[in-house]
């Protein structure tokens, strides 16, 4: 049993955090987060140069990481800085490309941007309800349907699409220029797009890809959990600072016991969130990977909402303002629940394990 990070991962974490502190200050963050195209091409290249995408990819695929703990280290640091760069789609794509043995050089060096379209409006969290389908089309395939909230699709060079082929989920690659892309900013920062497919030409990457997609989703869930842990920790530190310095009725508001006890409850939930994320990282590609990821995403959904709402409430009016960094952390913490399976959805997955 060892809860220390390896030296390599510690260095990765420090490198990334230092870069974000130096080159991704709060002003930059807010500009990128809320202005199209919701990424900074220069800084993206720099991040690639630091090896951040590579840390999400196994060695056999040209990277130098790709395990659960590599993913959690990277996303925790991104979450702490609330970095809006589209690393989530990078990770999702990498997991899919890994499964089909496709070259990831462009992904690792940052020169090719990927996005992954799985969710649909009427089937946001389940593969079974998917309506997008593929039709064989001479040598290739064509896709029809609509993928919703495809993160990073507004700047993607290639998009991987989950679609039904012979009634089973399969994975295809498309050229975004051949699809209808409606980009938008997200309320918590960063960009996404609706992807409309109407006979869009596509290359088949994997047939019968249910297991592949589950592996993509559970890695994505782990990443979101780790991001939330980093964001919660920082939001908590901001709150502590506020409680110590803000005065009301002649004393620091942190001296009010009702707020003290609520703050302790936040600390407790953050530690629990950290723990379940460790469990999910550890289990990622083992037999319990799906279950632990669902457990983690459920606990994170509950804890992150609590932290988001309580830090707003306890910071009084300040917590409601755009100017205060805490408000942006709260937004991200709440909206993470809208990605790749929400609290209830993940709980239902855990409940399914009870069926005799």
């Amino acid at each position: 049993m060892n809860f220390d990070m390896t030296e390599d991962r510690q260095m990765l974490s420090e490198t990334l955090s230092r870069f974000l502190a130096d080159r991704y200050d709060w002003e930059t963050r807010n500009r990128v987060a809320y202005t199209a195209p919701y990424t900074d091409a220069g800084r993206w290249s720099e991040l690639a140069g630091l090896g951040i995408p590579g840390a999400l990819v196994p060695e056999e695929q040209g990277g130098f990481g790709g395990t659960g703990f590599d993913i959690s280290v990277v996303f925790e640091a991104l979450g702490r800085a609330l970095c809006p760069e589209p690393f989530l789609p990078t990770l999702l794509a990498s997991r899919a490309l890994e499964a089909v043995g496709k070259d990831q050089t462009g992904l690792v060096d940052g020169s090719i941007r990927y996005a992954v379209g799985i969710s649909e409006i009427d089937a946001p969290y389940d593969l079974a309800g998917m309506a997008t389908c593929a039709r064989a089309n001479g040598a290739g395939f064509s896709l029809s349907g609509r993928k919703t909230a495809v993160y990073g699709a507004q700047v993607a060079d290639r998009i991987l699409i989950a679609a039904l082929l012979d009634g089973k989920p399969a994975v295809f690659e498309i050229d975004p220029r051949a699809a209808g892309i409606t980009p938008y900013g997200m309320i918590d920062g960063g960009g996404a797009a609706e992807v409309l497919l109407d006979g869009t030409p596509a290359v088949l990457l994997a047939r019968d890809a249910g297991a592949l997609l589950n592996s993509v989703i559970r890695a994505g869930r782990l990443a979101l959990c780790a991001e939330a842990v980093g964001a919660m920790q920082f939001a908590y530190e901001l709150l502590l600072d506020y409680l110590k310095t803000r005065r009301q009725f002649g004393v620091a508001i942190g001296s009010f016991q009702a707020l003290q006890h609520r703050t302790v409850d936040l600390l407790t939930e953050i530690e629990q969130a950290r723990s379940i994320t460790i469990a999910a990282a550890d289990a990622l590609d083992g037999p319990d990977g799906d279950l632990k990821a669902a457990m983690a995403k459920n606990l994170i959904g509950r804890a992150a909402r609590l932290v988001a709402e309580e830090t707003i409430q306890m910071s009084g009016g300040i917590g409601m303002t755009w100017e205060y960094a805490g408000s942006h952390y709260s937004k991200r913490l709440v909206m993470i629940d809208h990605q790749l399976g929400d609290t209830d959805d993940c709980l239902e997955e855990v409940m399914q394990s009870y069926a005799a």
Partner: protein, 395 residues
């Protein structure tokens, strides 16, 4: 024990419904329903419609040109307006300054100020909170010093709701430094614009602008703009705090929000079925529906007490606490119901209606975030708990 309204009250309710049917323009409803910020023109239009009907000063007695409603009638009016998706009346003139002038103003103030509120001509803002004094009004620092026939005002106000639209503002200012902090506060009215007065909008968490900072730099205010006695502003502040709490629970708003959540949950599909058939989501709706059902009665019980006693008691703080909890829970469900569809930042979708138009729910996440304010502004829920502790528990 009888939960039914009287025949007279039911007739009044019908009259309000008929009026709303006939007079609330569809484009205003639609704007409210969209959840987006309402522009000044929409609010102003609605104020003027109410003003023409004589229904803008809902708490005003007949002698001042008000409708002379009972607390129950005011409650019914509020609920029906909320249910019909009418804009909320911007309260600072009609519901706050009006009663203050009626109770504390001079003859001249009554004559000059009240008609312009009723007509919707003046748009008032409120300058209470300061950066260092949010819920703690006794510690406010903005000072007004007498200089001949004028006060010279210096300081800063904040959280001034819709101040960007106002042409008038009333403020609590310090006119004496000695003595207890509550003493030495006065209630002063000012024009916007005034020399030295600057209104700067504050952007809120979801990206909208509805509150402001007000900077006061040697603003000269005629002494005739003082309401009540100098140094007695605390009395007016307390009067306002306990004055108008019939709609503090926001029952009508929550009823409307519940309908929207249900309607949304019937349209969104999860695992091949409407979301409302998902037992965990349905359970969330049912719990809050039950809480709301109880709150309706709690509200009526307190209204009944207030009507009997002539004034609402501190127990109405319960309505604020539970009312905001129910409202915020409903906003949470509306956001949650959308799944990934909740993601877009309102206004960033360039192709209108292509994407989220049919769901008519683009603003649900923004509304959720914006509504976190309800448990903070206007006396935070923590302050309400302190009030209740003091008044009801004797602790």
């Amino acid at each position: 024990m009888d939960l039914r309204f009287t025949q007279q009250e039911l007739a009044f309710q019908q009259e309000v419904r008929d009026f709303l049917n006939a007079s609330l323009p569809e484009h205003i409803c639609a704007a409210v329903r969209s959840g987006a910020e309402l522009p000044r023109t929409v609010l102003q239009e609605w104020h003027e419609i109410l003003g023409r009907k004589g229904w803008l000063g809902t708490t005003w007695p007949k002698e001042y040109g008000g409708p002379g409603w009972t607390p129950v009638e005011r409650y019914l009016f509020d609920v029906e307006c909320n249910r019909a998706c009418a804009p909320r009346i911007v309260p600072f003139g009609p519901s706050m300054l009006g009663p203050v002038i009626q109770n504390f103003g001079t003859r001249e103030q009554k004559d000059s100020i009240l008609p312009r509120i009723l007509s919707g001509e003046d748009w008032w803002a409120q300058g209470y909170s300061e950066p260092g004094a949010g819920s703690d009004l006794a510690s406010l620092k903005t000072r007004a010093e007498r200089d001949g026939d004028h006060y010279v005002v210096n300081g800063q106000k904040t959280w001034t709701t819709l101040g960007q639209h106002a042409n008038k503002i009333f403020c609590l200012v310090r006119t004496k430094k000695e003595g207890k902090p509550q003493e030495g506060i006065s209630f002063l009215m000012m024009d916007i614009p005034s020399q030295g007065l600057e209104v700067r909008p504050i952007r809120l968490i979801e990206g909208g602008y509805e509150v402001n900072e007000v900077f006061l730099d040697n603003v000269r205010v005629p002494v005739s703009n003082l309401v009540g006695e100098e140094n007695k502003g605390w009395t007016i502040a307390k009067f306002l705090l306990s004055h108008e709490r019939t709609n503090i629970a926001g029952v009508g708003i929550s009823m409307q929000a519940l309908e929207e959540v249900k309607s949304l949950a019937r349209r969104m599909i999860r695992k091949g079925k409407p979301l409302i058939e998902d037992p965990l989501f349905a359970a969330r709706i049912a719990r809050v529906e039950i809480d709301l059902e109880a709150m309706k009665i709690t509200n009526l019980r307190m209204l009944y007490q207030a009507q009997k006693q002539g004034h609402p008691g501190p127990e109405t703080s319960i309505l604020k606490i539970k009312g905001t909890q129910v409202n915020q829970e409903l906003r949470d469900l509306a956001r949650r119901a959308l799944g990934p569809v909740a993601a877009p930042f309102p206004g960033t979708i360039t192709e209108a209606n292509l994407m989220f138009g049919p769901l008519n729910s683009e603003a649900n996440a923004a509304t959720y975030f914006n509504n976190r304010k309800t448990s903070i502004f206007g006396g935070s829920n923590e302050i309400q708990r302190n009030i209740l502790t003091k008044a009801m528990l004797g602790l």
